[in-house]
């Protein structure tokens, strides 16, 4: 028979240690990888505070903010900032508009639209460096199909990436070709996940299509747009593959984006400290952007998990 409360010595039960250690044990490898990232990162921070040229190792010395201070009056630095920002703004701006337009175009779930969406994704699955190589073949002045085609419409001396005036246009075009599908596919998934009722109600009420788009579709799509755009901003500001494969930052310094500049500083001019300082400036930008991104992305992620 039961009694209400049996009096007895209160014993503190304890899980064996291995149970409490289990989560730590499981994440140990990931932790090691983390350390493997954080140690070089700290080293990079240290480099950026040093005068350090690997061809003149005996001149290596702490100069603290020295590298950063020279940036203030360094036209190469400001050129890099300008090039990176314009590259980022052009690519992400065009990709957003184009991606949204294509997503709207393919919004209805028909067999053709689904196949078209997959087909559009293919450029995204090609390594950007190889994509650049493909475009290099197509824009070759001797035999490139695109050079031939623009020649047909009268632009006989269009030099694509080799001319300072069109180099930016060319790499932006390649970036758009590769990464528009990324924004498109995310927005398409977003559009198809939107609830139907607001649209049905608007249709019943005879609300004009432009009003529906700006007041219903766009606001409801905003979390997806934000996530996709921030994702792209983060990638675009760090662009390396396409620019390096196309022109290595040239012609001149026309395409000298952050990572290409840092790469050349390190491996061509052997200026380790200055290269690291370039990367730290870039890192700061990406750090701010990635915090914004992660916030948005977590919200979207929770929504996706909640829908299960």
């Amino acid at each position: 028979m039961a009694t209400a409360t049996l009096k007895g010595r209160p014993t503190l039960t304890r899980r064996p240690a291995r149970h409490r250690l289990l989560p730590y044990l499981l994440s140990l490898p990931a932790l090691l990888v983390c350390i493997g990232i954080l140690v070089p990162f700290a080293t990079a921070v240290a480099y950026s505070l040093q005068r350090y040229n690997s061809s003149l190792p005996y001149l290596r010395k702490w100069i603290w903010w020295g590298n950063y201070q020279t940036f203030l009056t360094d036209s190469a630095f400001w050129n890099t900032v300008y090039v990176s920002l314009s590259y980022t703004i052009w690519t992400v701006g065009i990709e957003l508009l184009l991606g949204l337009a294509i997503a709207l175009l393919l919004q209805r779930t028909t067999r053709f639209n689904n196949a078209a969406a997959i087909a559009c994704l293919l450029p995204l699955m090609i390594a950007p460096a190889l994509a650049a190589l493909m475009w290099k073949l197509m824009t070759n002045p001797d035999f490139g199909i695109l050079s031939y085609l623009v020649g047909l419409i009268g632009l006989s001396d269009f030099r694509w990436a080799s001319s300072p005036s069109t180099a930016m246009f060319t790499v932006v075009l390649i970036d758009v070709w590769v990464y528009t599908p990324f924004i498109m596919i995310l927005l398409l998934a977003g559009l198809r996940a939107l609830p139907r009722q607001p649209f049905e109600a608007a249709e019943l009420d005879g609300v004009p299509a432009s009003f529906v788009f700006f007041r219903i579709t766009l606001p409801m799509l905003m979390p997806y747009i934000l996530t996709a755009v921030l994702f792209r901003l983060l990638d675009a500001i760090q662009q390396f593959d396409i620019v390096y494969a196309m022109t290595q930052g040239g012609p001149g310094d026309r395409l000298m984006v952050f990572q290409v500049q840092a790469y050349l500083e390190r491996f061509q001019y052997l200026n380790v400290g200055r290269s690291a300082a370039f990367l730290m400036v870039l890192w700061l930008i990406t750090f701010i952007l990635s915090n914004l991104f992660i916030k948005n992305w977590l919200r979207l992620r929770e929504r996706a998990r909640g829908a299960v």
Partner: protein, 285 residues
């Protein structure tokens, strides 16, 4: 009564065709080039009608190119092999390291876990050169420079966050009670992990694995900095072609075709997971 097709519909159909043309034409054109001789490629005007030749591919596979000025060694097959080794080993290691960690992060709420997960995530978005440049020095110190192991270790930067975050989401979707029930039935923790958690998260694990394979394959900058010629994957190897003298354009095209085919096929195969993978698990397709 004649059926009337609205102008808008025609416009939309035309727009769809233009979009497809824009995205597919470069692939199509380079594919054609890979079956052409240099003479055919240099023809003006270009034409899509030509007698296809396999000489570009045979040159790549035989590793020797006979030209008027002599013969040239091509190491492309070695590049292809490197890509296969690096990508598949990286994914395999990332799965072994990442899946248990993803499980730990999903099931046990502990601060260290969150810190690891978010550190890896935020470095997914940090400039890769920032970590790579100092790593060159460290790798020289510990003898990992220009080894597969060193490269695979660095490739974890791409693969691990992807696997961790996608698979974590799948583990979180499994009701903990299902695992509790299995434990209560008398099974050990390890058995529960392998017989319940892993099978139920399998779609997520597959998606994450395929995606990280594609991303690892497509990576350029890691190998550019860390690998010498005989460890280089196709992305770096194909670029080296352009600068090497005497190479024929058709061979470059053929190398590109061979380099992108695996990822394109994988993408087609894994299409329903792509959206989820590309958004690191935030959007379900």
């Amino acid at each position: 009564m004649a059926s009337k097709i609205s102008g808008g519909a025609v416009l939309r159909a035309a727009a769809r065709i233009i979009v497809l043309l824009f995205f597919l034409f470069p692939i199509f054109w380079v594919f054609l080039m890979s079956f052409q001789t240099n003479q055919q490629i240099l023809r003006i005007p270009p034409s899509i009608f030509f007698t296809p030749t396999l000489e570009n591919y045979t040159a790549l596979f035989s590793g020797r190119l006979q030209t008027a000025s002599g013969s040239l060694d091509i190491a492309f097959i070695k590049n292809l092999l490197n890509s296969i080794i690096l990508s598949s080993c990286s994914v395999l290691i990332a799965l072994i390291l990442g899946v248990p960690a993803a499980y730990a992060f999903a099931r046990f709420k502990f601060r260290l876990g969150e810190n690891i997960a978010f550190t890896l995530l935020s470095f997914r978005f940090a400039p890769p050169l920032l970590v790579l440049v100092p790593l060159v020095a460290y790798f020289q110190m510990i003898g990992l420079s220009d080894t597969y192991i060193g490269l695979i270790w660095v490739y974890q930067l791409i693969c691990l966050p992807l696997i961790l975050w996608i698979v974590r989401g799948y583990f979180e979707d499994i009701s903990p009670d299902i695992e509790h029930a299995y434990r209560v039935d008398g099974h050990s923790w390890a058995k529960t992990f392998f017989k319940i958690a892993i099978p139920l998260a399998r779609p997520g694990i597959a998606a994450a694995a395929l995606l990280s394979f594609i991303f690892a394959w497509n990576n350029f900058v890691f190998a550019l900095i860390l690998a010498s010629a005989d460890k280089q994957p196709v992305t770096v190897g194909a670029l080296a072609f352009v600068t090497s003298a005497g190479i024929q354009y058709g061979i470059i095209a053929a190398a590109i075709v061979l380099s992108v085919t695996p990822t394109l096929l994988l993408a087609l195969y894994a299409q329903r997971y792509l959206v989820e993978g590309l958004s690191l698990g935030a959007v379900k397709g």
